[in-house]
């Protein structure tokens, strides 16, 4: 990021919004909110220099609690929305937030193809293993057998291993953090924003109201930090969470080209799509129709 120096004096209050915060006490979203604000400040990005997109869910109410250009869209669709914006203006970093319900059930297809396409954007998964805003239903990331709203006898569906799933898509950046470790999460988010390509950041998040199986204390006790490693090592460490949970920037491939960089038609063009809106003379394209 080559941002102007005048942003060096940014502080948390530049990102604070006056709106009332409506999350439950002890919600992991507070930690994630703090980490994103710190990451942006440390990257010397002013609120008007970023676009932050939100899915619908408890996490999405963050749209009210920080300033910056924001788009709070539809449930399940945040990745595609953010990708479109990132393609149109690659100079504005795009960060998309979504929950495990939105991004592993409703809109899982978007995640699959965004990883494949390697759009230059950062995706932060609020992984609290349930649908919080609709009062505690099971998501695809809820462990098998948990008793949840609409599953009073325990869930029947198998748990989807988010890390195994994402690694199977040949991602260019995978990280995992927790809402309880704000310092580490700040560094992860910074690395994600700096990465050229699709950054997948899986944040294990406490949900004191509906998630009784992976609490703040449980997560703090199980998580440990690892160094970034090669694909196979990283995948192995990420997938096996039976004893302890590996966190940090697990894997990064800095050699991969982004979607936009690979487009033959856009090679050698300095302008962004947002700079190019004007009437275009199509005379040169008419020869084949005469």
């Amino acid at each position: 990021m080559n941002q102007p120096k005048e942003n060096a004096g940014l502080s948390m209050k530049d990102y604070n919004h006056n709106n009332l915060c409506t999350w439950c006490d002890g919600c992991g979203n507070y930690g994630i909110l703090t980490a994103i604000k710190r990451a942006l400040i440390e990257l010397e990005l002013a609120p008007h220099q970023v676009l932050i997109c939100f899915d619908v869910g408890c996490h999405g109410n963050m749209s009210d609690t920080l300033v910056g250009y924001r788009f709070h869209g539809l449930h399940g669709r945040v990745i595609s929305l953010a990708a479109g914006a990132a393609l149109a203006n690659p100079d504005v970093p795009v960060i998309a937030f979504g929950g495990d319900g939105a991004c592993f059930s409703e809109g899982v297809g978007h995640l699959v193809h965004a990883v494949r396409s390697n759009y230059n954007m950062t995706f932060i998964l609020h992984n609290n293993a349930n649908y919080g805003l609709t009062t505690g239903q099971a998501s695809a990331l809820t462990p098998h057998g948990e008793k949840m709203n609409t599953a009073p006898h325990g869930t029947v569906e198998e748990l989807l291993n988010s890390m195994d799933f994402v690694f199977s898509l040949n991602p260019s950046f995978v990280a995992r953090g927790t809402s309880g470790n704000i310092k580490q999460l700040t560094d992860i988010i910074k690395a994600g924003i700096n990465h050229q390509g699709f950054s997948y950041i899986d944040v294990l998040q406490a949900c004191p109201t509906y998630n009784k199986f992976a609490t703040h204390e449980y997560l703090l006790g199980k998580c440990y930090e690892v160094e970034t490693s090669d694909f196979e090592t990283a995948r192995k460490a990420a997938v096996d969470t039976s004893e302890k949970i590996a966190t940090g920037v697990l894997y990064q491939d800095k050699t991969r080209s982004t979607f936009l960089d690979q487009l033959e038609a856009r090679k050698g063009i300095d302008t962004r799509l947002v700079d190019e809106v004007r009437k275009v003379d199509v005379s040169a394209l008419l020869a084949k129709f005469s």
Binding site: Y69, H72, S80, G84, A88, H110, L260, V280, L286
Partner: protein, 580 residues
């Protein structure tokens, strides 16, 4: 109108389209207005398909029911399409030792049909040419039948294969063989008119693609679905020249969301689909309504419901486009009718989307998207059209902004200032939840009322600026758009979309006037009511089962038509004989 019709039929993959396109191009260059219409089945190989060419020295926009010449690639064509010939028509077939059935022979005798057998396989064998060259051979036979010189055809072939010397020579040999083959009386074409030579021969989809480029559209996000796919393919094929970003997304929801993201960031982007894909996009259209994000969606209609008739034409999605998406919000629904407005209306679509910060749906139909039209190149080159971006703020204007300007409920016409992410200005939230002026949540009843009223006010502004429907009438022996709505009218025909072409080709005297609706929502009805009051008979023509425009008209002004002509079999709308 003096015109000739040539119909080429065969199995898909046999070259029906190449022969049709080659003939069309040659004829246009020779000084004819050409209209080409494709019919085919939803398969890749072996389905029965046809390409019908209408040729005239006057403006021709539609195909007749019967043809002067029928060219068949296989015996199915002979059996299925023999009765598409007029009395005295010519059948050119390529089926060796074909014996006509008793009924067919009777039809041939009764209608004096001239039957010509083309020994294509034999000739190709003699020339040691591959089967694909059969297309050039057949084209040259047709060419000679309509009395054109083989040099014209050779020139076109040279353009296409000039870089391959061997192939070019073989092509020329085929042309020489083909032109010597026929010894019957040639068909007499009307006298050519040089005015057509400089015009363009182009499909609705191609014209729409060029129109989008011309309008400053810099990205297309799509997902394949007939009959929207040709637009996606065309823009993908020319991205090297246009430098446009063309993305085939994983589904229609993604396509429309990416378009909205790109529009929000500040470029011009669009998506295109057919009815089923539009269904999937509707939640996002509703999102655009509340977040006040400009959006342009092309809806290329085919018959539904369900998968329906994928490769046929329809006008069944008007009511869907007008009401798609939950909740209430302003929007524009407009429809193209031919290649000319497929080009020009794209600028309007983007302008209205940005000026009013609303979703705009551009309807087209298979009949427009895939038909070949002869259009005035000046319409495409002209600078009549301008990019208008409404209340988009940049430069010094940014300094005066407050975050609460974004959704200011008191903005004139309900259109508040809009500025782009990355602008050095106060920031706001584009919100799908009901929100207050800066995009923050606000569930109060007062705010909900104020914001709904702000948005819905746009409908009034739109009604004020949208053009009136076009009144086509014969005036001093010429069929033209009349700006003057006075004068006598016997029959008032009202329709939209591709029906315009058939209707205009059928009007030949002053007694019938045609009112064409391009802008379908919000719907302007004042002129219609005025005209209907003095017409002796009003007739509604639509390509759907319910008379959907008629339903909207009744809803808006109470008018009911004396007669409704509705067609919903996937085929093109009826000729005017049925309604006069």
């Amino acid at each position: 109108m003096s015109r000739i019709s040539i119909k080429i039929v065969g199995a898909q993959g046999q070259g029906v389209n190449s022969v049709g396109e080659m003939c069309a191009k040659g004829l246009k260059r020779a000084g004819y207005c050409v209209f080409g219409e494709r019919e085919y089945m939803s398969v890749i190989m072996n389905g029965h398909s046809s390409y019908q060419l209408e040729i005239s020295n006057e403006k021709v926009r539609s195909a007749q029911e019967k043809s002067d010449v029928l060219v068949t690639f296989n015996h199915h064509g002979i059996k299925n399409n023999l009765r598409d010939l007029i009395e005295g028509g010519v059948l050119l077939h390529q089926t060796p030792q074909w014996k006509f059935g008793e009924e067919d022979q009777k039809f041939i005798d009764a209608n004096s049909i001239k039957v010509i057998y083309l020994p294509t396989e034999e000739i190709l064998k003699k020339l040691n040419a591959k089967p694909v060259l059969g297309n050039v051979l057949i084209t040259s036979v047709v060419w000679s039948l309509i009395g054109r010189s083989s040099d014209e055809l050779k020139e076109m072939v040279r353009e296409r294969f000039g870089h391959k010397k061997d192939l070019l020579e073989l092509n020329f040999k085929c042309i020489d063989e083909g032109t010597q083959l026929i010894e019957i009386e040639k068909l007499v074409l009307p006298e050519p008119d040089d005015c057509w030579k400089s015009q363009l021969l182009i499909t609705g989809s191609q014209a729409m693609g060029l129109g989008a480029i011309h309008a400053g559209c810099r990205a297309l996000f799509g997902y394949p679905m007939t009959p929207a796919s040709p637009l996606l393919t065309f823009l993908a094929d020319i991205q090297g020249e246009s430098k446009m970003l063309v993305k085939q997304a994983e589904d229609e929801i993604t396509a429309v969301q990416m378009m909205v993201g790109a529009m929000h960031a500040g470029t011009r982007a669009m998506t295109a689909t057919s009815g089923g894909g539009y269904d999937l996009m509707t939640e996002t259209i509703s999102l655009c309504g509340i977040s006040e994000t400009p959006a342009v969606i092309v809806l290329a209609q085919r018959p539904g419901p369900g998968t329906g008739l994928p490769t046929w034409t329809a006008q069944g999605d008007l009511l869907m486009a007008v009401s798609a998406g939950h909740g209430e919000f302003p929007r524009v629904v407009m429809s193209v009718s031919d290649a000319e407005d497929s080009f020009s209306l794209m600028m309007d679509a983007f302008n209205y989307a940005e000026e009013f910060q609303i979703p705009v749906t551009v309807l087209t139909e298979k009949q427009i998207a895939e038909s070949l039209f002869t259009i005035d190149a000046l319409q495409v080159r002209g600078d009549r059209l301008q990019v208008r971006r409404g209340r988009l703020v940049d430069g010094d204007g940014l300094k005066l902004l407050r975050a609460s300007d974004r959704y200011d409920p008191d903005a004139p016409d309900g259109v508040s200032a809009r500025w782009l992410p990355g602008s050095d200005a106060p920031t706001y939230c584009a919100q799908s939840y009901e929100h207050n002026a800066d995009g923050s949540f606000d569930e109060s009843g007062e705010n909900a009322t104020a914001q709904m009223e702000k948005r819905m006010k746009k409908m009034k502004g739109l009604k004020r600026v949208l053009p009136e429907p076009e009144l086509w009438k014969v005036n001093s022996e010429k069929l033209i758009v009349n700006s003057d709505f006075s004068g006598e009218i016997d029959v008032l025909v009202v329709s939209w979309g591709s029906n315009k072409n058939v209707i205009l080709d059928s009007i030949n005297d002053e007694s019938v006037a045609y009112l064409h609706y391009t802008y379908l929502w919000p719907l302007k009805t004042e002129k219609l009511v005025e005209l209907a009051a003095k017409a002796k008979k009003t007739v509604l023509v639509e390509g759907n089962a319910q008379g959907q425009l008629g339903m909207l008209i009744k809803q808006e002004c109470g008018l009911e038509f004396d007669e409704r002509v509705l067609k919903f079999d996937g085929r093109v709308s009826v000729p005017l004989q049925l309604i006069s």
